[in-house]
């Protein structure tokens, strides 16, 4: 599996990860090797059925008994790197 530097750059962009130039070269090599290994699954000749869901069905809980509003707000907002009152603060995008 041939992976090129521009593939690594594209993937890093999709994944929102800054990668240094030296690491790009390492990743190109590693991803190529790993993809070559996992491509073994293409050699499976048996007829494959569809992937199935597990044995549990309709597992969503009832949409009922909501907790009191604001109960967890302070704890959760406190974990954010920057806040503005009860809001998570991010850079302007428009």
């Amino acid at each position: 599996m041939e992976i090129e530097l521009k593939d690594v750059e594209h993937l890093a962009g999709l994944a929102r990860i800054v990668v240094s130039d030296t690491e790009k070269e390492l990743l190109r090599h590693d991803l190529g090797e790993i993809l070559a290994y996992v491509s073994q699954i293409k050699e499976v000749t048996a007829e494959l059925g569809p992937a199935k869901a597990g044995e549990l069905h309709n597992v969503m809980r009832d949409d009922a008994e909501p907790h009191e509003a604001g109960l967890f707000t302070e704890e959760l907002i406190a974990a954010a790197p920057s806040r503005d009152g009860n809001r998570v603060l991010v850079k302007k995008i428009l």
Partner: protein
């Protein structure tokens, strides 16, 4: 009295008979954990452990104690405990404090267990050696120049070095069983859905499962019995009344001969495995050779599905809502710098790999096909269990390797999980039990044998595992 070598069961008896207090027990292990800090098994030793010990003593005195009341337990660093840091051994979550208890923590707390500390691991549970921890490698107490396995290496090393009586780990592809084998302790990967994952920092959600590490099969069962069961906060956890097969005593052990004897398995490991199987035969088990060719595809399936799930699960870590933040020139720059600098090299590698196998044009070829092969593997195992009660393999292809030996070769590192990943792919339970030692470079290194059972067959694993402990000869 040699407190360090106690089992949970024996410590419980001493507590109930008032031969030791919970405070004395916990004080001893706190001291041991601090003394053996060179192992780097712990990320933190909790300063409120003695207060918990006193609370446990009150339960014991009131007669409301359980088998775990007053027993020191360590938690892997990816399991949330309200108010404590849970960092997944990543710079990304170095200062993150949990805002709620994981289900397993609440269960253990209710049972009166004493949380001694949180243990080191491969970052976000990605690795087989703890070398991927952002906070330094954990050492194997049997040979300090070797890895303890991973990713739950801190938990395994902590028990093997006598600094705690039991621990929780998480197992996505072998992360409980492989370190258990390398450190000479017992490790159980329960059936998928047997234990709630609520409060476990997710790696690959269709494979992750929390389970116990302990010194004996009996101790592992004691912890498992407390943490298992339905939790409304994990919709994949099974209801307690789910129709299970009746628990019958296992009699027939299947050995997938071709798989066990594949290339790359240390001949000493095979010798130990064959001897272990012979002992089980002498103990009255019927041994049957079986053929399970689909097991050979386990690792390929795993290294497609797991990174795919990793790349989506870890998307939530963006430097905005919690965790590490690095400033960029705009919001996109904030994301990319926070993730680039907050995640370590192996995590970045797996996210990119997952992004690749899920990307347009490759999705069917990789993710789609791997999902279909997963179903084939699951059905093949199910069929094999029509003829045998449990399946046995070595837990690992080699004994513990040297620190640094595989760090520059990810594929070699991944091969350390060759015997364990298929269990997660099929969702069935498996246990690793110490099976002996090999001499390497002047050290006696532990090995493990793995027993695999059909879904919800944990009791069969405890039965066969208990029998193996009696006949293994040490």
């Amino acid at each position: 009295m040699d407190i360090s070598s106690l089992t949970i069961k024996k410590a419980h008896e001493l507590l109930v008979n008032k031969e030791i207090t919970a405070r004395e027990l916990v004080e001893h292990f706190l001291k041991e954990a601090h003394t053996k800090s060179e192992l780097n098994a712990y990320r933190e030793i909790f300063d409120d452990a003695l207060a918990s010990a006193d609370a446990a003593q009150k339960m014991l005195d009131a007669g409301t104690g359980t088998l775990l009341t007053g027993i020191p337990i360590a938690l892997k660093d990816n399991i949330l405990m309200k108010g404590k840091i849970a960092s997944a051994s990543s710079k990304m979550l170095e200062h993150y404090r949990a805002t709620y208890d994981a289900h397993v923590v609440a269960r253990l707390r209710d049972a009166g267990a004493v949380f001694l500390g949180r243990t080191n691991m491969d970052e976000f549970a990605m690795g087989s050696s703890t070398e991927n921890s952002a906070f330094g490698v954990t050492k194997n107490p049997h040979d300090l120049s070797r890895v303890p396995g991973g990713s739950s290496g801190g938990s395994a090393s902590a028990i093997a070095s006598g600094t705690v009586l039991g621990a929780l780990g998480s197992d996505t592809g072998g992360s409980i069983r492989q370190p258990a084998a390398f450190c000479g302790v017992v490790g159980l990967k329960p059936t998928y859905g047997a234990v709630s994952r609520s409060g476990l920092i997710a790696m690959a959600s269709s494979l992750d499962q929390i389970g116990p590490l302990a010194k004996t099969v009996e101790d592992a069962k004691i912890i498992f019995d407390v943490i298992k069961g339905k939790d409304p906060l994990d919709s994949t956890s099974y209801p307690d009344n789910f129709p299970h097969k009746e628990n019958k005593k296992p009699k027939v052990i299947g050995v997938p001969v071709d798989f066990v004897r594949m290339k790359g398995v240390d001949p000493e490991v095979l010798r130990n495995f064959d001897a272990s199987i012979a002992k089980m035969k002498n103990a009255g088990y019927e041994i049957r050779d079986i053929s399970l060719p689909s097991l050979a595809h386990g690792l390929s399936v795993y290294y497609i599905l797991m990174p795919a799930e990793v790349s989506s699960n870890l998307a939530r870590l963006d430097g905005v809502r919690y965790g590490f933040h690095a400033d960029g020139t705009n919001l996109l720059g904030d994301y990319a710098r926070s993730r680039g600098e907050g995640f370590g090299r192996e995590v970045r590698r797996r996210i990119l790999l997952g992004t690749y196998v899920l990307s347009s044009g490759y999705h069917d070829e990789y993710y789609g096909r791997a999902s279909a092969v997963r179903e084939m593997l699951r059905l093949d195992l199910q069929k094999a269990f029509e003829g045998v009660d449990i399946i046995a393999t070595p837990t690992t292809p080699t004994a513990a390797f040297k620190i640094g030996e595989k760090t520059n070769d990810p594929l070699q590192m991944y091969l350390a999980d060759i015997f364990t990943v298929s269990v997660n792919i099929a969702g069935v339970p498996a246990i690793s039990i110490p099976s002996g030692f090999i001499e390497e470079g002047g050290s006696k290194l532990p090995l493990g044998i793995q027993f695999i059972a059909p879904s919800f067959g944990e009791e069969a694993l405890f039965d066969a595992g208990g029998d193996f402990e009696k006949v293994r000869g040490f």
